[in-house]
């Protein structure tokens, strides 16, 4: 029935274009309505709610117990764990990005040509992307274990640690162990993104450079890297934003330990809400701070990206 009505409307609209605008608007809204409902119901309302909760005395079990405006924020800012988690998260982000980006770039250079073996290689590198961060973390948790893990005996042989110690037992061990896991899990993903950028560079530029006698290294430096700058910037944004919000891998591998030395900011939100404080108001206050910081970081990065695109 509705379809018939719409069909008549369209027939008329096609013949007489004048009243088309309003009907077009109605149909447009009809198509976009599910999106709008989902966005308002599960995105806009929760953002408003988190702002409200951040100013409320809101316990996990007791619910809302009235206004508590600046206290949640001052409590969060006074917590020594905040500075510790911010500095650890920044260190982790820097380390991950600096290691992941060059590896992804080299892998992309290696597998970009369409050869049969390259397809196999590319698939092998991409397979970890099909695993979730949580299952990868559980897998590496077992790999790093002193009981069944194959790495402990090797590190013991190399004299780097005792076979009964846990790799995750020290802050540094846990940090590097997590970086290795994340590189393994994400290298293929960033490799594909880089490959797409490489394919967008026209091949005749390289041909012309070869004719002029430019070596492969010169071509890489003078052609590939400059033309790939937007892609590199984009993968960097993804890596930085992703690492700043790291949660699963630390929740599963270290729970923030030992001595809160691998506590990330997002893990701290979880601990405030469900473990140490059971205080949703404080967790909301930290959420708001993270949200504002992330929006600022993203706007800054987008501007940098756009600026580069213009060059």
């Amino acid at each position: 029935m509705a379809a018939e009505v719409a069909a008549t409307a369209v027939r008329r609209a096609v013949r007489t274009p004048s009243p088309r605008g309003r009907k077009d608007a109605l149909r447009g809204w009809a198509f976009v309505a599910p999106t709008a409902i989902l966005v308002v119901g599960l995105f806009i309302v929760p953002i408003g709610l988190v702002a409200f909760m951040s100013g409320s005395d809101w316990s996990l079990m007791g619910g809302n117990r009235g206004s508590n405006f600046p206290d949640n924020f001052t409590n969060v800012l006074a917590d020594p764990l905040l500075g510790q988690s911010v500095s650890f998260t920044l260190r982790y982000t820097l380390l991950t990005t600096l290691i992941l980006m060059p590896i992804a770039f080299l892998l992309a250079l290696l597998v970009q040509e369409a050869r049969r073996w390259n397809n196999v290689l590319r698939t092998a590198i991409l397979v970890p992307s099909a695993l979730g961060i949580a299952s990868s973390s559980l897998l590496f948790y077992a790999l790093y274990s002193p009981q069944v893990g194959p790495l402990n005996p090797i590190l013991d042989q190399l004299g780097l640690m005792d076979v009964r110690e846990s790799i995750l037992g020290t802050a540094n061990g846990a940090l590097w162990a997590t970086v290795v896991l994340v590189v393994w899990r994400f290298a293929g993903y960033y490799m594909i993104l880089t490959m797409v950028g490489l394919q967008a560079i026209p091949g005749d530029i390289y041909e012309a450079a070869s004719l002029d006698g430019a070596s492969k290294v010169t071509q890489l430096r003078k052609i590939t890297l400059p033309l790939l700058r937007p892609t590199i910037a984009m993968t960097m944004i993804l890596s930085i934003t992703g690492s700043l919000l790291a949660f699963d891998q630390f929740y599963i591998l270290t729970k923030g330990g030992p001595n809160n030395e691998t506590m990330t900011i997002v893990l701290l939100i979880y601990k405030y809400a469900f473990e140490t404080k059971k205080d949703l108001g404080m967790a909301a206050a930290l959420s708001v701070l993270v949200l504002v910081a992330l929006v600022v970081v993203n706007l800054f990065q987008l501007r940098a990206l756009r600026g580069r695109d213009k060059d």
Partner: protein, 271 residues
């Protein structure tokens, strides 16, 4: 170096590289059937860990069913919302369009963790407390920027003449959308479905915030069961769970790999 020896070096090095990425998964498979002292698979090789996994907690089938419900709701919602929305954004002009589109893109700017605290309260208010459907909807929402953008681009790439012909033949807008446009964007639809499935199937954080242990999907149950075994961690059980989780994801990924790569090449991720 001669070309042959160079080729040998190349294959050896790249072969090692491929192994590096595959070895952890291969090790998990081997460990899951290996003897682990004082755990579910105490002696000899066999499927003891998997047998223990089947009966663990609420039972493996319950956890798998929960994972499947979440994934189906997330994929279904994402496909419906992204096709209708993508089409609306691609083909119609109306007041408020930009605001809605910008709000979709704004989801990218906001850390999920910041939304999960209010969502854990708000979902209770709208009758979705401890609900698998609620988790599926939230996961679909988080993938909305990617899926909407992907589908909008896909619809824009379809020539307008196609649907105009259908309209002139007497098809209504909605029938033209369903009969003509949806089949025209099959490939991007598969890409969106695959992306959302892999994320929903594997997600841990959203269920951790929004679901109780009684309603856990497999990744959450795996992490819970590791913590509940006090003192001795049953690594055999853990790796068996990782393998069970990985099988559907890897199989689907391998069979639809070309869509995964095409999704990137069509620029949907660039936002």
């Amino acid at each position: 170096m001669t070309t042959t020896s160079r080729r040998v070096v190349y294959y050896v090095l790249t072969g090692l590289l491929a192994l590096t990425f595959l070895l952890p998964i291969a090790w998990a498979v081997v460990n899951s059937v290996s003897p682990n002292p004082a755990t579910s698979q105490a002696d000899g090789y066999g499927l003891g860990n998997y047998a223990a996994l089947v009966g663990y907690g609420e039972g493996l089938w319950t956890y798998l069913r929960n994972s499947l419900i979440i994934s189906v709701v997330a994929v279904g919602t994402a496909l419906v919302v992204a096709t209708t929305g993508g089409y609306g954004f691609a083909r119609f002009s109306f007041r408020g369009k930009n605001i809605v589109f910008m709000s979709v893109l704004a989801i990218l700017m906001v850390p999920y963790a910041a939304l999960l605290i209010p969502l854990s309260v708000w979902l209770g208010e709208i009758g979705l407390q401890n609900s698998l459907v609620g988790v599926g909807l939230v996961l679909a929402l988080f993938q909305l920027p990617f899926s909407t953008f992907m589908m909008r681009n896909a619809f824009e790439a379809v020539p307008r003449e196609l649907e105009e012909a259908a309209l002139l033949d007497g098809c209504g807008t909605f029938r033209a959308f369903w009969r003509i446009m949806i089949p025209a964007v099959r490939a991007p639809l598969v890409t969106v479905g695959l992306f959302v499935f892999l994320i929903a199937w594997n997600d841990f954080m959203v269920p951790l915030y929004l679901l109780g242990a009684d309603n856990a999907p497999l990744p959450l149950a795996m992490v819970n069961m590791r913590q509940q075994v006090m003192g001795v961690i049953d690594y055999g059980l853990t790796t068996a769970g990782v393998v069970v989780l990985a099988i559907p994801a890897v199989v689907l990924f391998l069979s639809l790999q070309k869509y995964y790569i095409k999704g990137f090449t069509s620029g949907a991720v660039k936002g």
